[in-house]
């Protein structure tokens, strides 16, 4: 991995993008990497734009906010439209396939994935969308091994929900073809 990666997770309040961001930070800690995780949201408990960020690094991290992320997950049109503008050069986007690709984006830097639909119809619970996304992101970017990621997920879910979250994680990974993973992993390298 290069020195420092900045990941941004954006959606609407209640979709669990903060938890997705925390899980990657937890996986980083388990792997002995440096990480800083933070979030920004409005006063609403549900709805409104919610944004979370994870910085991964081999070196100490001081400034805790992301300015130009290397990766963006967008689960709503509003978050995609607004945050796709501030991507780092060569940055990658994973957007839910229900969204419209904003003008000016190079389709080669965008992975359109049916995260929300998979959570609803394959896993059977809409609220697992964030874990589906975690599985898909990790497969696409090749960040952590499966065991580390599963342990990170387990540390942040209620007891008794291990099975459904594991299914969500696997369902997410299956959304990414080996070709896509190879293409995206190259861009990280």
């Amino acid at each position: 991995m290069k020195g420092r990666y900045e990941l941004r997770f954006a959606g609407s309040g209640g979709q669990g993008v903060i938890l997705a961001s925390v899980i990657f930070a937890e996986a980083a800690v388990i792997s002995g990497m440096k990480t800083v995780q933070s979030q920004a949201y409005g006063p609403e408990a549900r709805g409104g734009v919610s944004k979370a960020e994870t910085i991964l690094s081999r070196e100490p991290i001081w400034y805790s906010k992301v300015t130009a992320p290397d990766f963006l997950l967008a689960l709503t049109q509003e978050s995609l439209d607004s945050y796709s503008k501030t991507l780092a050069a060569g940055g990658l986007i994973m957007m839910d396939s229900s969204l419209r690709l904003p003008e000016g984006l190079d389709p080669a830097q965008v992975l359109s994935v049916p995260v929300l639909q998979t959570a609803r119809e394959v896993v059977g619970k809409a609220f697992t969308a964030n874990i589906v996304a975690v599985g898909a992101i990790n497969k696409a970017l090749g960040l952590f091994d499966g065991e580390t990621l599963l342990e990170a997920v387990k540390r942040h879910i209620p007891a008794g929900t291990e099975d459904i979250n594991r299914r969500a994680l696997d369902a997410g990974a299956e959304l990414i073809s080996p070709e896509q993973a190879a293409a995206f992993a190259r861009k990280w390298g």
């Binding site: 990480t35 949201y41 805790s64």
Partner: protein, 383 residues
């Protein structure tokens, strides 16, 4: 597997407080401090402590003072709007000399402001929020690990000096998660308040031996009865109208902090040894300043960071000690210029002091600071 754990700043405040011996928390949850109340509610019953959600912040600080007088190490946590409501009883705690820790996770104000956005606008309120001349100790952490270790110090200072200690966090640090390796419990230094048990010469509950500043505490609620009041009081704890006693009391309260700044005040310096430009900052702002200093150094500029960890009393002596080598200072803070006033007071007219602040709820970035340094350079540096 790494020994580090992923922890949020607010969570570290609770874990540190419990390690310091906190066994009572009363509070009224408010963003961005809510996780401190949540985590206290989970953790305190596990260690035999008590958590109470109060009806408001006035009651929260009152309950904390009561619990502390009765013998427990106690804490509350809030943000700007709640901190405003706590000011009257904070002064009571200072006057009656009741140790406790009050956490203020600052958010953008004034009033309810921007509830979820960072700011450092309560710096002057921490010093002068409650009325009258009073002693203030306030500490401000800039990382998750430092939140843990520094809140232990906050409890220690509260116990040692028998006074409320303010723990001035901000949304940046409170809501940030980092991997931290916590110190082993056996490596921690934990102070307990000095107690007196109605024996010997010091029968009076506010008796202070000659040459000392802090009375030992008598257990309140069992044993001998005594009086606690916010009124000016004599050694017995009962109110007095004597101007002589009142004057001595307030002077002693101020002196117990001012005469012990060597013990209380801490700063962190980075790359200051040969620095010509000192960037002064505190709390979460230090994160951007560190990156700016590293980048400026990489470009060959002699820039360093001077960070008060104890923000009250302001470390004027430590800053003045750096003045001979400095050509200029830059104060960076998330407000409209509050610590700036203390820096200017310490520096006087000896060196130019520039300022970068923000009050819109967004975070000052390393780029903003580097741009400001460049602008100062292009302008030939203000004199």
């Amino acid at each position: 597997m790494s020994k580090a754990v992923l922890m949020q700043g607010n969570e570290a405040a609770v874990e540190g407080a419990i390690a310091a011996g906190m066994r009572f928390f009363a509070g009224y949850p408010i963003t961005p401090s809510t996780e401190i109340a949540e985590q206290s509610a989970v953790r305190l019953p596990q260690v035999g402590g008590k958590f109470i959600q109060m009806e408001d912040e006035l009651a929260s600080i009152a309950a904390v003072l009561g619990a502390s007088a009765a013998g427990l190490k106690a804490m509350t946590a809030t943000s700007g709007p709640g901190f405003s409501l706590m000011q009257e009883n904070l002064g009571y705690g200072m006057m009656a000399e009741i140790p406790c820790v009050v956490v203020d996770v600052q958010r953008a104000g004034p009033s309810t402001g921007l509830a979820t956005s960072p700011a450092q606008g309560d710096y002057m309120q921490a010093r002068w929020g409650t009325h009258g001349d009073h002693p203030v100790i306030a500490l401000s952490p800039s990382s998750v690990l430092e939140t843990y270790t520094l809140i232990i110090r906050a409890f220690n200072l509260a116990e040692k000096y028998r006074t409320p200690v303010l723990f001035l966090m901000d949304e940046i640090v409170g809501h940030m998660r980092e991997g931290v390796e916590l110190p082993r419990p056996s490596d921690l230094i934990i102070n307990q308040r000095k107690m007196s048990f109605h024996d010997g010469a010091n029968k009076q509950c506010y008796y202070v031996p000659e040459g000392q500043y802090v009375p030992a505490m008598k257990p309140f609620g069992h044993g001998e009865r005594y009086n606690i009041t916010g009124n000016a009081h004599d050694e017995s704890g009962f109110p007095t109208n004597s101007s002589e006693i009142a004057g001595k009391l307030v002077t002693r309260l101020l002196d117990k902090v001012e005469k012990n700044t060597g013990d209380i005040v801490r700063v962190e310096e980075y790359a200051m040894d040969d620095a010509e430009t000192a960037i002064v900052c505190f709390g979460g702002t230090a994160r951007a300043v560190m990156d700016a200093v590293l980048e400026a150094r990489a470009a060959g500029k002699r820039v360093g960071m001077f960070r008060p960890v104890t923000v009250w009393p302001f470390p004027a002596g430590q800053l003045r000690a750096r003045l001979p080598q400095l050509k200029r200072l830059l104060m960076v803070e998330h407000n409209h210029g509050q610590m700036l006033l203390e820096v200017q007071r310490a520096v006087g007219r000896e060196k130019p002091v520039d300022f970068l602040g923000r009050v819109d709820g967004t975070v000052i970035s390393p780029r903003d600071i580097l741009d400001k340094l460049n602008e100062m350079e292009e302008n030939g540096y203000a004199q």
